[in-house]
Symmetry: C2
Amino acid sequence: MRLSRGFLPTLKENPAEAQIASHRLMLRAGLIRQTAAGIYAWLPAGLRVLRNIAQIVREEQDAIGAQEVLMPTLQPAELWRRSGRYEAYGPEMLRLTDRHERDLLYGPTNEEMITDLFGQSVRSYRELPQVLYQIHWKFRDEVRPRFGVMRGREFLMKDAYSFDTDPEAAVATYRRMLLAYLRTFQRLGVAAIPMVADAGPIGGNHSHEFIILAPTGESGVFYDGGLEEQDWLSSEIDLADREALAGFFTRVTSLYAATDEKHDEAAWAEVPADRRREGRGIEVGHIFYFGTKYTESMGISVSGADGAPFHPEMGSYGIGVSRLAGAIIEASHDEAGIIWPDAVAPYKAAILNLKPGDAGCDALCERLYGASPDALLLDDRSERAGVKFNDADLMGHPWQVIVGPRGAAAGRVELKRRATGERVELSPEEALERIGLPAVGGPGGHAA
Amino acid sequence: MRLSRGFLPTLKENPAEAQIASHRLMLRAGLIRQTAAGIYAWLPAGLRVLRNIAQIVREEQDAIGAQEVLMPTLQPAELWRRSGRYEAYGPEMLRLTDRHERDLLYGPTNEEMITDLFGQSVRSYRELPQVLYQIHWKFRDEVRPRFGVMRGREFLMKDAYSFDTDPEAAVATYRRMLLAYLRTFQRLGVAAIPMVADAGPIGGNHSHEFIILAPTGESGVFYDGGLEEQDWLSSEIDLADREALAGFFTRVTSLYAATDEKHDEAAWAEVPADRRREGRGIEVGHIFYFGTKYTESMGISVSGADGAPFHPEMGSYGIGVSRLAGAIIEASHDEAGIIWPDAVAPYKAAILNLKPGDAGCDALCERLYGASPDALLLDDRSERAGVKFNDADLMGHPWQVIVGPRGAAAGRVELKRRATGERVELSPEEALERIGLPAVGGPGGHAA
């Protein structure tokens, strides 16, 4: 995208309403605009981030055999009356009526609807397990929405639901999902630590929250630093092997991690002092095995191997996709702006043309930009170099390719890594290679 | 996807509530399920269709320089009070209040919100033109929703909005969008004819509906068959050249096309008799240049070349993405089921294993399936061959690869083209090549 043509409105001033870094930076970098309290429009660069996050989430759900569906945002109240949650849910549920005075609600979560869809279609234990998920907008009418997309009212969430024949199968599904989550967050470039959470009526340790460390987090967190050092992407675990899954689960849960709610001082004291990590954290995911709560209350059963009907065992698994856009910034920014992890950045690099109108600068910038116009942002505005440097730092592109008249004449560019500030002079081809983009041809291709 | 594991619930019986072919077939093929009147959940195969359609729409919007954003589904009533449409809109607008008694509405369209976002960010004529679009869910509270996703209440729509300096520039933008629409529908594999529509207060011929011929259509249509014969994908038109755009526009509008509302018998009589096409049609898109209606009513202006502020000229451009899933089926089905155009099919082909358990069939099917597990559906169920044939025809995969024990022993498969019924015996490699999938290796690779 050419910045001169793009709808990428950056702000010079800090917006008064933004109390935390991610909210401030998302407004200033032109990622979002508020349209009502706790409700945001996503501008082009913000939408690219949101979509990058969603795609990684999707790929890791698919990798464990989950199947994507899309449920409507509005649900009939009747469904929630069947489970008993319609009255119980409280004022965070946005209730409404249509022109025929039928009661609807804007889904805050989808256990009821997915259980109903499952019950309409699945008849036999032979069709289990089933794991269904969607990535879609939800609404929770927070009494005091704040912190931008971190605690918004209309938010994008990945919600998955599993159906299994028995508790052992359900626990295996839970463990596969835990692995998918660890891989998802690793790919996103953030450390999200799984912490034992309140397990509800079933008990056991099959409820985990995933928490990103950030000073503005809503909970205190305590964990073993060994959890940050694991490489889940390269660890091969046979998803069909329940023993391998149990071994993996032990490997995760044997390392201490808890929010202040569940903190256990005695267990904490046993963590080697140099591995104790303590701070505040933001919840970006939650996985939960809850058994037959909904299949029972909604009267959903399938026939078992012996012909007798039974209520499938369920779990649900959420990731706050829009919240993650903010949480990643909370975990990765500095005074100058955002520092996007490569995997979620809206553009892989910005090309800064320091002197538009200079034939050498223009030609070299166009050649670089032509390599991957969709992956690159070309700052071709007639602004001072300082403005371009500041905007590029603010927007947080992982790389900046800086093109000035002297360098252009010599066929050289400066490549800056946003995360470290490191700058190095290179040929245009070397710069593209470093960024991970295909090279381009053309007469200047060998000028360096 | 393996059909034995997939959430692809087909129905043998025709659902009583479905009056038209697309609704019946979408329910029977397991693409959608109704969750409330006019509100649907999209099951895995249906979501794949929806996403294929949306991606083609997106690519053609991007190709003319439109930029994607994502606005929230819920909008503050205040915005619509500014334009004067809040009271005017009528009962199709779903109005609601949040816990603080603030008036909200579920957006039926987004002129107000995009105009407001534009006004917050764009200051100068130098930043024009801007074309912004989103692909997102809308709600219109139809008094009598019916025909499945063809006239649903919660529906997925691509809505684009343009901002230009003057009427000439706005008309050029309109013409680029017309071209993008023609290319979009051609890629989708359907004939959608542009018809002059009511132009509203501005007059002129800069309002077109795009209509797919189908007997269940809501309007009568009359058009010159020459419109179906154009190849818009290979016709090169310089998008920056206003004269070229004008020539293209003349080429389109000189061929007669009108709905019954705008039908002109005198002009119709001049169309050569062998090119007259008459029938009923479904509106799947609408483009509209309406000038300063919203920028004026909402008080949005930018500074012109002379320093004086002016109201930008706007247009809006819709495509009914979820409606298209139904409309394509209306235009492309037979007694046995759906006939998906290749570009939107949920799977490129189904592999029918006629004898699961037969070592030769199983090995050959696995080898074929392994070529592209994401693009293929493997019917590995222990069902009779007739059930598999019927379900494959019902689901409408463009190709069926039929694997029986004798063929497997000889290293041969039968390849059936759904649209024509043509069957041909081939080697597995030839079948994959015909479908357009990469070949696979393995010991059986050269058995034929």
